[in-house]
Assembly symmetry: C2
Homo-oligomer: 246 residues x 2
C-alpha cells in the first residue's frame, strides 16, 4: 500500500532527531512541510525532493501530502517537535478519509515540553498539563477553564504558543488565572528557540512571568507546582524519592 | 568540570534513540541505570562500562552516578522514555546538592505519551494532562484531584503506571472518577511495551477500560477528550483545522 509518514523532527531537527525519523526521511521520495521546518532539514538531506507551504496552510499541506502518497510517491510530512502534539498527525488522519486507503505511520519526536524541560532542569518530573494559549482553534473560555483546573489540581503546567504579536496580553491573562490558585513566587521558566540558534532560557517567578514581554511564539513556558524549587539555578520538581527516605 | 549526563533512551532504546543520546552514551566512561534499561542498550554499546541497580534503588543509583562523576569519570544515567518525565533528572539535581559541583546535562528522549500516541494514531493533538497512577510517592487523594480536574476541563489524559499487581484496582478507581465527568463511550486506547518486543495496542471505550484486566505497569493509557474520535481504527483528537474551514 502507498505510504505516508508523519515525522516529528524534535526541537531543532539536529541532534534531537531520532534514528527512526532520519530513516523515514531517507526512505521517502517526497518531504512536505512548513517552510521554516523544511529549512531546518534542507542541508542535511540535499538530494531529497521537498515541498514547503506557508503558515496557516495546514490543510493544503496535508492534502498535498496525502495526494502525493495516493499517487504512488512514498511521502513524509515533517513537523517541529513531536508530530502528534499540536502537530500534523491528527489532520493527516482526518484528510486521508477523503482519499483511497494509504498506510499512515506516525514517527514521534522530542516535543518542546521535553526539550525545554531538559534545558531548564527537571520541572516535569511530576504530573503535568500541556496547554496551548493560541485561541485560533480553541475558544479562549476553554483555555481559561483548563488553566484554572490545572492550577487548582497542582499540575506542573507547560504552555505552548504563549504569546504572539496579535495576542500580546494572553500570557498576562493566563498568569492572572494561575495567580488565583498559586503563589506569585511559584518558580517558573521559559526557553526560546529550543535546540536552535539563539536558544536562551530564563528562570523567574510567576509574578515576573505575568509581566514578561520577552516571551514569543518560539518560546515554551513552564510553571511549577507546589513542590517545584530552584536548585543551583535549575528548575526542579522533586518526584519524592529523597523525601520518602527521610 | 566533571560531567554527568541524564539520558532519555526513548521507549525501546532502539530506533527512537536520538543522535544526542547516542553521542552522550558514546562519550561517557560509565553508564548507570535500572537493570531493565541497561539490558536494552548493553548489546548496542558492547565496550562500555555499565552498572545496573534494581527497582526502588533510585537514590542509590543517583548517588553512585554523582560520586563517579565527582571522582572524575564522565558518567551517564540512562532512563527509559524521557529522562525528565518521571525520570531520574530531578533526583540527580537533588542528590548532586550533597557533593562538589559537577556539570549536569539532561538529554531528553521520546516519552511514552508521544511514543504511545504515535502507535494509537494522534490522540494528543490537543491540550492534555499526564498523570501517574502510582501512589508510592504521591498521596492517592492528590491523584484523584488531578483526575477529576483533568476530566472536568476536558483535557485528553495520558496515564503512566496505570496498574500493578499490588494496585490492581487503581485503573478502575481512576476510570470511575473520569466517568463522573465523561461519557462511557469516550474513545480510549492503550499501548503495551511501546517500541519493544511484544508491543500491542488496543482501542476501547472508557467503560471497557474501567473493567480491563490486561493493563499493566508496562502500559500507557490514553483517554480522549470531547472531540476525540476513531478514524479507521485510529484514535484521533482533531486540532480543529478542518472544522475552521467548514
Amino acid at each position: 500500500m502507498q505510504k505516508l509518514t508523519v515525522i516529528g523532527l524534535g526541537p531543532g531537527a539536529g541532534l534531537d532527531l531520532t534514528l527512526r525519523a532520519r530513516e523515514a526521511i531517507e526512505s521517502s521520495d517526497l518531504i512536505v512541510g512548513y517552510t521554516a521546518y523544511i529549512a531546518l532539514i534542507r542541508d542535511a538531506f540535499p538530494h531529497k525532493e521537498m515541498v514547503s507551504t506557508g503558515m496557516k496552510k495546514e490543510v493544503d499541506r496535508c492534502r498535498l501530502a496525502v495526494e502525493a502518497a495516493v499517487s504512488g510517491k512514498t511521502t513524509a510530512v515533517v513537523c517541529s517537535g513531536d508530530s502528534g502534539i499540536y502537530g500534523m498527525a491528527g489532520l493527516i488522519y482526518e484528510v486521508a478519509q477523503d482519499y483511497p486507503p494509504i498506510d499512515i505511520e506516525v514517527v514521534p519526536g522530542i516535543t518542546a515540553a521535553c526539550g525545554g524541560a531538559a534545558v531548564l532542569g527537571a520541572p516535569l518530573t511530576h504530573d503535568f498539563a500541556v496547554i496551548s494559549l493560541s485561541d485560533l482553534l480553541t475558544p479562549w473560555e476553554k483555555i481559561e477553564r483548563r488553566l484554572r483546573a490545572a492550577a487548582e489540581a497542582d499540575f506542573v503546567i507547560c504552555l505552548y504558543n504563549p504569546r504572539s504579536r496579535s495576542r500580546a496580553d494572553m500570557l498576562r491573562r493566563a498568569c492572572d488565572i494561575l495567580l488565583a490558585a498559586k503563589g506569585g513566587d511559584t518558580p517558573c521558566g521559559y526557553v526560546k528557540n529550543i535546540g536552535r540558534e539563539g536558544q536562551t532560557s530564563v528562570v523567574l517567578s510567576l509574578s515576573q512571568l505575568r509581566d514578561c514581554e520577552d516571551v514569543d511564539m518560539f518560546t515554551t513556558v513552564f510553571i511549577g507546582n507546589e513542590q517545584t524549587k530552584l536548585l543551583n539555578g535549575k528548575l526542579v520538581t522533586p518526584r519524592g524519592y529523597l523525601q520518602r527516605e527521610e
